[in-house]
Amino acid sequence: MELVCPAGNYPSLKSAVDNGADAVYIGFRDETNARHFAGLNFSDKRALKALEYARDRKVRIFVAVNTFAQADNWSKWERAVDTASDLGVDALIAADSGVLGYAAEKHPSLNLHLSVQGSATNQGSLEFYHQNFDIKRAVLPRVLSLKQVAALTEKSPVELEVFAFGSLCIMAEGRCLLSSYVTGESPNTAGACSPASAVRWQETAAGGMDTRLGGKLIDRFKAGEQAGYPTLCKGRFEVEGDINHALEEPTSLNTLDLIPELSVMGIGAVKIEGRQRSPAYVGEVTRVWREALDHYKQAPSSYRAKDQWMRALGKLSEGSQTTLGAYSRPWQ
């Protein structure tokens, strides 16, 4: 399985490449990609440098142009696709039928991957993107159980990539508007979820911390409690008189345990989330995953996720806890 790692800037890219990524995915510095954060991502010039660094070390570069193109700004998405093609990247990751259609028509030799934002969870949807845009790979939304992923692998007309580690989206990607409901910006439109510009950290009289998004209270931490980023689906809310994590707790996806199953069922690539993360984070996660995948390859039948790997990844996880997410039925 190919190890696909994130890079939000050039140091992270080097970190991913140096620690054993097979491929690195990046985005340009605007709302054409789903991690459109201030100070993050690549200018054309930086992207070229990244490509050269990766190429020299036989690592592939993918570019994500995976938001939905806004009609009043369409040329931005066209330009992003053209730039990726001119750079000669190894794959363009896109979700919008308009963008995919443009890429397929204008740059027929460009290798297209369907982004997770394309929300393809089933055979019919995968066939749609394959037949219409000749995609070569699709990234699956984090909504299928392991059994369902296995069944889909048998029917899929294209190679599949799944999320392996990182922040856990608990909603079907490309179909979550919670962020724009509260802040006006969503992954689909602005490439941002719970954007930093809408966040407010407020110390409380009792020495704790209130975290707000768009003015709405997302969580309230007691003095001494580690205050987390106010992501909408991971806040503490009041439902039927109880206050708790009604949707999900702060936690990260970690599938080191599933490497044998994913590999046997024929998954083509595993993806690490986190273009917004630091070079140190990217390097450490990449290193652990490289080691794990190599271990599995050397001795598939005796593979077991090592405690030291789990501990290393646990430390890098939201709320210091990890989950198998939707891959495991009880989580659902």
Binding site: Q70, S97, G101, Y102, N122, F128, I170, A172, F237, P330
Partner: protein, 295 residues
Amino acid sequence: MQTTLGPLLHFWSKNEVFDFYEQVAESGFDRICLGEVTCGKRRELKLADWLELARRLQNSGKNVILSTMTLLESQSDYFQLKKVCGNEEFLVEANDMAAVQELSSRGLDFVTGPSVNIYNAYALKHLQKLGLKRWVMPVELSAEKLKAVLAQAESLGISESLETEVFSYGYMPLAYSARCFTARVNKLNKDACEFTCLKTPNGIPLATQEGEKLFTINGIQTMSGQCMNLLDQWWMMEDMGVSSMRFSAHSKEVFTALDKVLAQLELEQPGETMPVNDQCNGYWFGRNGLEMEQI
């Protein structure tokens, strides 16, 4: 301006569903979307029941459409979708690209619901070639964004035969998950959920710790905490070339909302604002979705 009643997003008992659609048959809606779109486990009505309702509504003069599931996970979800697409009697509303694929490969015309992501006219043009007749704008887009999409459609020469619908009234579907939040609230496992969502026919409110209503939990779906109210925007929509307004029912209040609009349409002039409980219209005005802009 036409009026569409979108598919029922909540889980009601079979009797309640039949009773509700009896009233729909007598209502002023032009067009009715039928079918389970939220959760594959909700099977109070089978396809045959929906078809029976569809025929009944058609006989009372309604234009009837069958809607497909939004988030497909299992093989059986997919087979069910193929069955709906192959019904051979009624036009189908695709809520996932799987339905677009199924319908277009059968050479059938189709319409798309709000969860098929169409944010520009290039996407529209592509789908139109495959048989798209009408689309529902994603709920998060504003009037200004819609104008831009329609202007782009004009420049691509596809606006002639294109019909546009806007989600104008009701609690908006905002997100879909593998997890069932209603089961989670009730400390049940999704695989043994006891169909507990039957007990909360309008969903379960989720509020901040300061008591501000934020979302509505509806099984695997998270809906808006406020009811979208664009009832007084019909004249602006008409100006822009929108051909129908979509209503979504959380209760029989939907008939009151419809009657308010129909009364204004009758007079052919904008009336005063029509407040509904717990309302929002922010998306339409390019703001946070949950806001209520006073016009």
